[in-house]
Symmetry: none
Subunit: 140 residues, 2 copies
C-alpha cells in the first residue's frame, strides 16, 4: 500500500545474493535451473481481465501505467466478494507453484535438511480453508 519510504536515504545497494535482482528469468544455460516464477497474485489475475475491458474502451491508449492506475483504483473499490474468484484463482496458482518449488528443491540441492520446508500459507483448498468459528450464517 502506501509505501513507507522512510527517507530517500535508502540506498539501493545491490543484493549480496550475487544474482542480480531481475535477470535470467528462465535461462537454463546457467548452472542452475531457474526457479519457478512466482504465481500471479489475485490483483494481477484481475488485471488480465481488466486490461481487456480497458483496451476495448480505450484502444488507442497503449500506456501500461494508465491501465495500471485505473486497475488499481478499481481493485480497491471492489468488494472482497468480487475479488473472490481472482483470489481463488490465485490460490490455485499458488498450489501449482508450491508443487513446482518442491520439484525445484529436489533438483537443486536438497541438503537433506530434516525436510522442514517453510510451511507457507496453508489456505490452499478445502483442506485448510479458513476455519471460522461462527455457526451463524451471515445472510448476505
Amino acid at each position: 500500500m502506501t509505501r513507507v519510504s522512510a527517507s530517500s536515504s535508502r540506498t539501493l545497494k545491490p543484493r549480496k545474493d550475487g544474482k542480480s535482482i531481475s535477470k535470467k528469468k528462465g535461462v537454463a544455460s546457467s548452472s542452475g535451473p531457474a526457479r519457478p516464477k512466482r504465481p500471479p497474485i489475485a490483483f494481477l489475475l484481475f488485471m488480465e481481465d481488466f486490461r481487456k475491458s480497458y483496451k476495448e474502451e480505450h484502444p488507442e491508449n497503449k500506456s501500461v501505467s494508465a491501465v495500471a492506475k485505473a486497475g488499481g483504483e478499481r481493485w480497491k473499490s471492489m468488494s472482497l466478494a468480487e475479488k473472490s474468484p481472482y483470489i481463488g484463482k490465485a490460490v490455485e496458482r499458488k498450489v501449482d507453484y508450491d508443487k513446482a518449488m518442491e520439484s525445484y528443491n529436489e533438483n537443486e540441492n536438497v541438503k537433506e535438511d530434516e525436510a522442514e520446508p517453510a510451511a507457507s500459507s496453508e489456505k490452499s483448498t478445502s483442506e485448510s480453508t479458513p476455519e471460522v468459528e461462527d455457526d451463524e450464517e451471515d445472510s448476505s
Copy 2:
C-alpha cells in the same frame, strides 16, 4: 538464493520446534477424544447453494442425508476453480475473523509471538542458510 520454501502441507506432522505455528484452536486435552474435524467453511457455503438446487430438483426428498451425500460427492468432483467463489467467501469470513482477533489481541496484550492474525505465513524459523556462493553471474 537456492533455499526456497516449499509447502509440504500434505504431511501434517507436528512441528518439533515446539512452537506450534498454528493457532491453538482448542487443541483439546491431547488425549481427549479427537473432535471430528469440522468441514471446511467453503464447503458449507457451497452447500447453501447446493441445497437450493437440490431442493428444486428433488422437492419431495426431505432427506438431509441425501442432499449431504450428493453435495459431498459434487464438492469433491468440483475443480478448484469452481470452488473459488466459495473459497473467496470463506476468505471474507476469515477477514472478519481476523478483525475480531485483532481486537482480541489488543485486549489481551499478547506478545507478537503467535497471536498474529492473518499473517499465518510461517517463515523459516531457524534455517541456517548456507551461504552458497553461486557467483556464476551470467557473463553478459
